[in-house]
């Protein structure tokens, strides 16, 4: 059932992505100030949004694991964080390419860039911590605790660096500005691409969760075999 759902989601995402790519490269004109490179925005910002949503879904799942002790929440949280980490890396890499062309530099210590990097560092630590613990209950409990600390820290980092440095372009999306900062045709493609990336992320999470559950089953069988 879960396998079929992931295939269906991936197929819908592929169709959406194909349609969006057609709109981005063949329908929409170049942006007046930035030229063709602005199209990277259609992947850069949605990847960041999918990553951030993922971290807060993982926070909820970690709290649920600690409350109910069900391993399925732990497997889901680990899968969501791994997939979110990939999307955060896509966000950083596409942002760097855009910055090199528009600002002339690959990186600047702006608050959004720094927060994104801190997110990647914190949740890379989460994955390393999981790899370092063999015992499943201890791994689930400690990684849930780290996820909660990490998400709270990300909020503090985000707010504090916002006061510290700001070079990144301001918000342009309707739900942040109240409208009028982005052409409706562009914002339509933007939201459709966000939906496509969200579907890709969901399909990946489903596949990764199945792998995680299988790995846990194999591990428990191995323990039984060792004990016998």
């Amino acid at each position: 059932m879960r396998e079929r759902l992931s295939i269906v989601l991936a197929a819908i995402a592929a169709l959406l992505l194909a349609n969006n790519l057609h709109a981005m490269f063949l329908t929409l004109p170049d942006e007046a100030m930035q030229g063709a490179i602005y199209r990277i925005l259609f992947f850069h910002a949605p990847a960041a949004m999918v990553g951030m949503i993922g971290y807060f879904v993982a926070l909820t799942l970690s709290i649920m694991y600690l409350s109910f002790g069900d391993f399925k929440y732990d497997s889901l949280a680990a899968s969501v964080i791994e997939v979110s980490l990939v999307f955060s890396l896509v966000n950083i890499v596409t942002g760097s390419i855009w910055a090199r062309i528009i600002w002339g530099i690959w990186w600047t210590w702006d608050y959004r860039l720094t927060s994104a990097l801190v997110c990647v560092l914190i949740f890379s630590g989460y994955i390393m911590l999981r790899r370092a613990i063999d015992e499943p209950t201890q791994r689930a409990r400690l990684s849930s605790a780290l996820c909660i600390f990490g998400c709270v820290d990300v909020v503090i980092v985000w707010k504090s660096i916002e006061w510290f440095r700001n070079q990144h372009p301001g918000p342009v999306l309707d739900f942040r500005t109240g409208g009028g900062r982005m052409d409706p045709a562009m914002s339509h493609v933007f939201y459709m691409n966000f939906l496509a990336l969200l579907l890709v992320a969901t399909a990946l999470v489903l596949i990764r969760t199945r792998q995680e559950s299988t790995a846990r089953e194999i591990d428990s069988l191995r323990r039984v075999a060792h004990a016998a």
Binding site: L129, D153, S160, I161
Partner: protein
């Protein structure tokens, strides 16, 4: 109140062990001075720029030497199953965690003070111009380092790769705290006027301390009880 009393006895126990053995104090102090010495080769130690960036230099030294202290916080309880005995005692997990943070805090503060004196001598910096404000920032930032150090020291105490995992997890989490401490310390040591900007950072330190201490208390049982 009971939690606080129990936490104080844990901190007192750790401090008594530390004063007897001086393991962490000596190691962290020597390490801090070695970094300060090495930094003098990176740039001109008597230029005016040093005063402007003294906060950055000092807090990096404190954060790195602090790692030696919070690494020992829980690992010193491993021989003879002392940690199991502590967990089996009537102490609440929250008081154990906060007590451990208290022990780290009281051990790290003297290391910071000695480093500050050495820094003043090595780099010809007059750091004592705003003593109450500087003391407040040191207390706030050191408590933040201590509570995060205690939580993650406990979290990684039974891991094979403890020494590798601890810095990888802790330093990204300490970033907002260190930025705040660096910003305010820079202003105070450079003798610039304290503005709303510095107060904002002092509030970030306070929020960080309160949030992390509250989270540590709530999750103490999860972190400590196997």
């Amino acid at each position: 109140m009971r939690v606080l009393r129990q936490a104080l006895s844990v901190a007192y126990k750790d401090l008594a062990i530390e004063l007897r053995t001086k393991e962490s104090l000596n190691a962290a102090g020597a390490f801090a001075i070695a970094i300060l010495l090495l930094l003098s080769f990176v740039f001109d130690p008597f230029s005016d720029v040093v005063r402007e960036m003294s906060g950055g230099l000092l807090w990096l030294v404190f954060a790195f030497s602090g790692a030696l202290i919070f690494n020992r916080g829980f690992s010193r309880e491993l021989p003879n199953e002392c940690l199991d005995a502590l967990l089996a005692s009537p102490l609440s997990p929250a008081s154990l965690l906060i007590g451990k943070a208290g022990g780290i805090f009281v051990t790290l503060l003297p290391v910071e003070l000695v480093s500050l004196f050495v820094f003043g001598i090595f780099y010809n910096v007059r750091w004592w111009l705003h003593p109450p404000e500087l003391a407040a920032i040191f207390v706030l930032a050191t408590w933040g380092i201590a509570i995060v150090g205690a939580v993650f020291g406990a979290l990684t105490v039974n891991l094979r790769l403890r020494e590798l995992m601890l810095p990888v997890i802790i330093y990204p989490l300490l970033i907002p705290l260190l930025i705040g401490a660096i910003e305010v310390t820079n202003t105070l040591i450079a003798n610039h006027p304290v503005t709303d900007y510095e107060w904002l950072w002092a509030r970030v330190l306070l929020v960080f301390d309160v949030v992390m201490t509250a989270l540590a208390s709530v999750l103490a049982e999860t972190i400590l009880v196997n």
